[in-house]
Each structure stands twice: as structure tokens, then as C-alpha cells.
Amino acid sequence: MSREQLVVERARKAFRTGNTKPLEYRIQQLKSLLRFISERRKDIADAVKRDLGKSEHGTELFETMGLEGEIRLAIGKLAEWAAPRPVEKTPVTLLDEVYIMPEPLGVVLIIGAWNYPWAVTLQPLVGAIAAGNAAVIKPSEVSSHSAKLMEDLLPQYLDKELYPVVTGGVTETQELLKQRFDHIFYTGSSTVGKLVMEAAARHLTPVTLELGGKSPCYIDKNCDITVACRRITWGKFVNCGQTCIAPDYILCEPSIQSRVVEEIKKNIKEFYTDDPKTFEDYGRIINQRHLKRIVGLMEGSTVAVGGDSDESQCYIAPTVLTGVTGTSKVMREEIFGPILPIISVNSVDEAICFINEREKPLVVYVFTNDNKLIKRMIAETSSGALLANDCLVHFTVNTLPFGGVGNSGMGCYRGRHSFDQLSHLRSCLIKKLKMEVVNNMRYPPHTARKMGWARFFLVKQVNMCRLRRMALLTLFTAIAAIAVQRFLRRG
């Protein structure tokens, strides 16, 4: 038996004990996870620094702060999320109990990514724990320091049978994917997403795929270009562009292009100083393979800002490219790096066409003062999400579902969405064996008369809202009539 098989079997056995069902247990595990983050903040920051060159503050801002918020939300809301959810009844079920009961799925596999190794791996785990599942956590081997730390430390805080960490590369992941899970949550590339879904097909396992794509960013000439470029510069170069929801490329009219370049250049200097290479708050590319890939993308375009790189340090300067068209090398794949191409379009119509010719991205960004334009973007494009006049921040709103569509993914998470995604919402109809005479209309031998009754009672839709309103109106009228009568009598 392989290590992976053993781990999954142990997790399943631990799940079957029923220990994860009581809410108290789940809250206890979530509180431990919270403690883990606050007690090991320094260790986590060190690991991320070694993986991605991110500063301690950067790690807190983009990894742990959001994670802590997610855990606190789950702890605070768990009773509400896990409670039975009553639904509207039909006439024939008026005396019955009808509700939806959220239930754990079983053993969930969470495959994390390397770009935000803690946030992206542990946020789904919060949902899995809250929903009462066991979870096998497979952090990305590419962010190796974070993976090692997770493997060493998480078992000291969470139940090691229910929430084991399995490290390893492609072979180990493939072995894991041969096992049967009740749900697989994968964050990463579309290419590997297809392989994960194919493996899941073997056991008919449902999946959540958080993938990527080229998220376009349209800048309308009628907007505050200074503020727009400030926000875009921040959104792009956070984590050296290695963010699934980073603005991948800009679309704007030629008349504002040079202004946009200037503003971005100015902001790069302000945020990352004249020498980003030596600046603590500017990160690194995860490894040399990715660096070479990103540098290669610049071929055929003009470097307007930055462009330099240092392979030994996995460093690429914040870079802006111009002279880019739809067929340029940089437009052939998701950049996932600190390179921002600007493409000229003559109108918003052209921009919308350009966006729609390509796979549906994780997010569409639009910067404009014109609400009508925003409405057009919403109506005429499709993407995981749409954010107007800023970048990235929709991820901080944990009441919004976070997920893709088409090539950018399926399913969603964050807050209650994580809980629902990793639960089974079981329909429940609780009847009694009384009033059997009512059922006679549905039994054979069938007669036309029975059919008439059955058609009316059994399946008919009644507008319950209208019924309630009418009942209330009747009650109100009756009370008013009584009150008026009494008043008149007294008078």
C-alpha cells in the first residue's frame, strides 16, 4: 500500500468515527488553526520569504490576514451555516417538516498552489473543516519551504488523522489522485485542472477548480487616469505579478497610452523605489524555470519600462510593454509575472470583442467614470468576476463567491460559499404515517375523479406568498372590522 493510500484510508476511518460532526469539534479545530497562524507568524513569513522573496509585511497583508479573517468568520457563523434550512412547502406538505440539511461530504482533497502557498491552500481547508469533512492537504512542492513548514507544524495544531499534510511532487500527486475522495479542490493551471478532473472522473468525484487565465484591464479615456494607474500598478506587481487575479494586460485607446505608461512608471518608482531589486517589498519569481518562461514572453514587444532581469536572483523588474498585438508572444499564455503589456484598441466595442475572442478569464477589470460603460462590460463579457475601478480587492469581500467560469474554473469559495461547496445539501421531507386517507387519491385503481383531486393537491403549485398575503389581509380586515364595530358601539 502506498503512503498516499494509507493516509487517505486513515482519514476516511477517522471521518467515519463521526468526530467531525459536532460543531464544537469543528470550532475547536478552527481555533487551533487560528492559533497556529498567530503563534507561527514569524515561521510562516520566513518560509514565504525564502519561497517568493516576500517581506514579512507583505506576507501578513496577502496571506495571513485574509486567512485569519476567514477562520474568524467561520467560527462566528458556523451555527447559522450548519443549521437546517427550512423551505417553502406545497399544499400537500403543509403539515410536514421540509428543510435542507447541510451534511459533510467525507474526505476532501485540497491541492494548493505556490503563489500564495498559505492563503490558497488553507482557505479551502477552513471551509472543509467548517463543513465537517476530513481533508488531505497537498501543498505545492514548488513553494518548498512553505510546504515543509506546513508538513512539520500543522499536525501539531490539527488532528493529524483527519487533516494530514502530504508533500511531494507530480508522482505523489498522481498517486493521491488515484484514491477516492468525496471532493477535490484544486488551485492551479488549466492544463493540470483538466488532468485533475479526468482523474476525478474515475470515481465520479465532484471538483472545484480555481484556475487562471488572462484577466483583461480596460482603461477608458474618460476616467481619473492617475488613480487608475496607481491601483493597476499595485494590483499588477503585488507578488511580482504571480496572482491568479492580477490584471494580465491593459486595453486602452492610443490617445492615452503614453500617459498610462508614464503614470505606471511613476507609481513603480513610488512603490518600489528606483531599484526594486534591492527593495524589501518587491518579491521574486518562484523559480528559474518560470523566470525564463516570463522573460521569453517579452520577445517581439517593446520594453517601455523596466525589462531587466537577473536569473541568479530570480528577479525580473516591474516591466511595461508596448507595441503589443493580439498575436504577440506575451498574449499567448497567462503571464503570471511582472510584465504588463498595453494593447491599443480604438473603442470599447473593440475592447469587448478582443476580450470575448479569448477564454473566459477569472476577472475582467474596467476603469471608467461612465456607469453605462460598466453596465456594458458586465452585460457583454463573461468572467469569474468583474471589478470596476480597482484591482484584486473583490477577493477581500468574503460574501462574494470567488471562482472562475469556462477555462478559468468551476465552483467557487470564500466564506459561506466554501461551506456550501464542501457540504452536501440534503433535501429532507419528514412526514408522519397519519392522515393516510389523503393519499387515497394517488393510489390505483385510477379513476377520473381521483385524477382531478390528485392533479389539484399533489403536484399543484400555489403561490404561497399570495396565500399568506391574502390570509394576512383577511385577518387585518377582520380586526379592523371588530375595532370599528367596538368604536361605533361606544360612540
Partner: protein, 479 residues
């Protein structure tokens, strides 16, 4: 558009042409406005109303479906979904505004339900109208273009749908493609924005494999062995009536039919005479002459069922009679069926009811839990503690106590499986959500750029502590 069964390569081209036409229509945006969707749904309603006789006849031809069953479980179920969709469509299409934290209080944050594109619905043969058209209602309501692939096994209904649908619905948006396993395989090579499949686990594997090539999301409505446990104090007469009705409806060919029964010896001894009585009451002395019992859909399925019955080591207490030409199998009940019996190895999907005896409730629960999670699970008892125990200790798509099947008639309950019985759900709003993309939208203003300054590098401890506070959900309580 009626598409003849084509040969090999031509088949693929024909599918591609249909898809391209539908995709172009979708891109034009014509299916998005509420008015369009409502009109199409109303046309579908007219189609059912104006052709009810033809529909009932086709169903009778395919399954000898009694008119009563066809009206209730096919026509009326569909009509109700249509009424429900039309009256709720406006509300379903409204953007859903969500709560925000202090940092995002001034922003518009909402979730929009958007159509996916061109979706594929593959229907089964057991309820060839309901299980194909109810998803269609949801897909239309959600603003998609749809390719509908009825089951070729229920051939009369398949042909009727292919003939009627194009007469009522927009041919640019909705197309029927007919064919068998080969045609479906070819069809699945194309890219869809969602695939909705109702049928067997075996085929579901192939569907999911094909879907993974294009990262197509799927809904799988599968089957399984839906157990029915009777324990504690049980009103045997009432239980028998409901059980017999649910089991032999459509001659047991329902994905949510109670597949097998678990009960104690004492309960069995009270139940069996009641069941015998009820079968006689419902279907007469000779059920083959009753107009109220459906037939098995095909010779192949009839043979499968008879083989299962032949291999079983259980004792038949009623039924067992059959007629191959008529595809008839009498309502059959067996007792003394063991866990490893042939009837317990696969979903029966026929009018054969095995009764297994268990010593305790836990034993019954263990047997249920040893199998794949079923689409439905039934518990009969006058004791609510028994019902609650079964509910808490088992898993299934849906659960109903003291009755069978009826829980799927509520449009407010999601209808779907879990584990081996499926993935995803539909009915009512759940169907609308299945065929929609929930797009998160956030519209920010241009003010408060100074507040944004907290997040820009260089990062400092001071900035961080402000941000921690503004991003927390508790900070909203100040407002």
C-alpha cells in the same frame, strides 16, 4: 431542426453545424432578456397543453405508462416547473447585493446570475418527458441555448419531442439531436458550457471524461439502491400503501423508487400481509390486466430483471409472473433475502422488492452505509427518534420519512445525488442556479484613494494595523 441519424464523419459535422448556429445565437445576446426567456417558457407551456394527448400516447407506447402516472409524474411536474419558473424568473434574475466590510462599505458588491452559453441536456428513458424537459426549463430560464438529446430507448417520446419542439421554440436557440450511444459519443467530443446528464453511473464516467477535456462543468443525476428501512412502532397498513405505491409506480423504473426494504422480523410479519393486501387492491387479482401498471421499457431490460430474479435466493411471496412479449413483470416481493443476494448487487430498477431482515436499527444502518450513497433514503416509523437516528447516521441525495418519491415534487427542495448517486442538483431555483454562472461584481468609486494608500508599498506596521481593522467584519458594527 430535425437531424437524421448520420454516418460517422457526417454526424460530427452535423453536430458542429448545430453547435455553431446556437453559439452564434447565444453571442448575439438574444436569449438574455427576461422577456425572451419568458416567451420561450410560455411557448413550451403551450406545447405541453396543446399536445397532451399525443404526449400521453407516446408515453403509453414506450412504457405502457398509465395515463394517471403520465399526467401526474410527467405532464403536471413539467407544467408546475414552468409555472414556477415564469412566476419567479424576474426575482431570480435580480442581482443579489451582499454584505461588505468597512473598507468596502461605499462600494456596490453584488452577485449576478449569468447564462453559461450552450448547454447539453441528455435525458433518460424512464420519465422521458419530465427528466429531459424540467432541466430544459431551468436552462431556458437561465438564458442559455440548449441542445437536447432525448433517450432513443423511449423511441416514441424521442420522436415526438424532435417533431414538436422546433414547432414551438426558437430553432436558433434550441435544437434536438437524436441518436444512440455512438451519436452521443460523437456529440460529447464538442465543447459545451455545461452538460446535464440523467442516467447510469457507467455512462456518467464517460460523460465526465469527455467533459474534462474542455473543463466543462457537469450535473449528473444518477441512481443507486435507494434503501427503505422500517423500524420501531410502524403503522403497517399505511406504510404498506405508501411503500407499494412508491415501489411499483412506473413498474419500479424510478431513480428514487425504494429499491429494497430493511426491517425486523416482527415488522416484516406485520408488513407482508399488508403489502399483499395492497397489491391486490391496487392492481387486482391479475396485475397483467390492470391498466394501472406500466411495462418494462425494453426486452433487454426485461431480460436483465428476469435474470436477476432467477439468480436470487430469496423466497417469492407474491408475484414472479412475467410475459416477455408484453414486457410484463408482476409486482414481486421476496423475503429472506441476504446481503450478498443477486438482487443486492446492482440497482434493480424494476417491480421487484427484496425484504431483508435485520436484528437492530444499527444493523440496518450499517447495511445502508456499506453501499454507495443513494439518491434517496426512506425511513418508516411512528417513532421520531428512529427517523432522526437514520437521518443522522446515513447519507443520501434526499431523505423522506414515512413516504416515498413525494419529496421530489417540491420545487423548493434541491433534487440531486451525492457520491455515486450524482453531482449537482436542480428543480425550481436550484435548476436556475445550476445553469447560471454566479458572477461576483464589485463597483468601486474614485474617492477615498487616501484609504487605498494603506495598502501600497512601502509596507509598514502602522499601515498594516489600520488595514487589519478596516478589513474585519466586526468593524461594520461601528456603522
Amino acid at each position: 431542426m430535425y437531424f437524421n441519424r448520420c454516418e460517422n464523419g457526417k454526424r460530427m459535422d452535423a453536430h458542429v453545424q448545430v453547435l455553431e448556429r446556437l453559439r452564434a445565437t447565444f453571442r448575439s445576446g438574444v436569449t438574455k432578456p427576461e422577456q425572451f426567456r419568458r416567451t420561450q417558457l410560455n411557448k413550451l407551456k403551450s406545447m405541453i397543453k396543446e399536445n397532451e394527448e399525443e404526449i400521453l400516447n407516446a408515453l403509453h407506447k414506450d412504457l405502457a405508462k398509465p395515463k394517471f402516472e403520465a399526467v401526474l409524474s410527467e405532464v403536471d411536474m413539467l407544467n408546475n416547473e414552468l409555472i414556477h419558473a415564469v412566476s419567479n424568473l424576474k426575482q431570480w434574475m435580480q442581482p443579489e447585493y451582499v454584505g461588505t466590510n468597512l473598507a468596502t462599505k461605499l462600494d456596490d458588491c453584488f452577485v449576478r446570475r449569468e447564462p453559461l452559453g450552450v448547454v447539453l441536456i441528455i435525458g433518460p428513458w424512464n420519465y422521458p418527458i419530465q427528466l429531459l424537459m424540467v432541466p430544459l426549463v431551468a436552462a431556458i430560464a437561465a438564458g442559455n441555448c440548449v441542445i437536447i438529446k432525448p433517450s432513443e430507448i423511449s423511441a416514441a417520446t424521442d420522436n415526438l419531442i424532435a417533431e414538436l419542439l422546433p414547432k414551438y421554440l426558437s430553432q436558433d436557440c434550441y435544437a434536438v439531436i437524436q441518436g444512440g450511444a455512438e451519436e452521443t459519443k460523437e456529440l460529447l467530443k464538442n465543447r459545451f458550457d455545461h452538460i446535464f446528464y440523467t442516467g447510469s453511473q457507467k455512462v456518467a464516467h464517460k460523460i465526465l471524461e469527455a467533459a474534462s477535456v474542455h473543463l466543462t462543468p457537469v450535473t449528473l443525476e444518477l441512481g443507486g439502491k435507494c434503501p427503505c428501512i422500517l423500524f420501531g412502532h410502524v403503522n403497517a397498513t399505511a406504510a404498506a400503501r405508501r411503500l407499494v405505491w412508491a415501489k411499483f409506480f412506473n413498474s419500479g423504473q424510478s431513480c428514487v423508487a425504494p429499491d429494497y426494504v430493511l426491517c425486523s422480523k416482527a415488522t416484516r410479519d406485520a408488513l407482508v400481509p399488508a403489502i399483499l393486501e395492497v397489491i391486490k387492491e391496487f392492481y387486482g387479482e391479475d396485475p397483467q390486466t390492470s391498466p394501472d401498471l406500466a411495462r418494462i421499457v425494453s426486452s433487454a431490460h426485461w431480460t436483465r430483471l428476469m435474470e436477476l430474479l432467477g439468480k436470487s435466493k430469496g423466497r417469492i411471496i407474491v408475484g414472479g409472473e412475467s410475459n416477455q412479449e408484453d414486457k410484463y413483470i408482476a409486482p414481486t416481493v421476496l423475503v429472506d433475502v441476504a446481503e450478498d443476494d443477486a438482487l443486492m448487487q446492482e440497482e434493480i430498477f424494476g417491480p421487484i422488492l427484496p425484504i431483508l431482515t435485520v436484528e437492530s436499527l444499527q444493523e440496518g444502518i450499517d447495511i445502508m452505509n456499506s453501499k454507495e450513497k443513494p439518491l434517496a433514503l426512506y425511513a418508516f416509523s411512528d417513532e421520531s427518534s428512529v427517523v432522526n437516528t437514520v437521518l443522522e447516521k446515513t447519507n443520501s441525495g434526499g431523505f423522506c420519512s414515512n413516504d416515498g418519491i413525494i419529496h421530489i415534487t417540491l420545487p423548493t427542495l434541491p433534487f440531486g445525488g451525492v457520491g455515486g448517486s450524482g453531482w449537482g442538483s436542480y428543480h425550481g431555483r436550484w435548476g436556475f442556479e445550476t445553469f447560471s454562472h454566479q458572477r461576483a461584481c464589485m463597483l468601486r468609486g474614485w474617492t477615498l484613494e487616501r484609504l487605498n494608500g494603506l495598502r501600497y508599498p512601502p509596507y509598514t506596521e502602522n499601515k498594516l494595523s489600520w488595514l487589519r481593522w478596516t478589513a474585519s467584519p466586526k468593524s461594520c458594527s461601528l456603522m
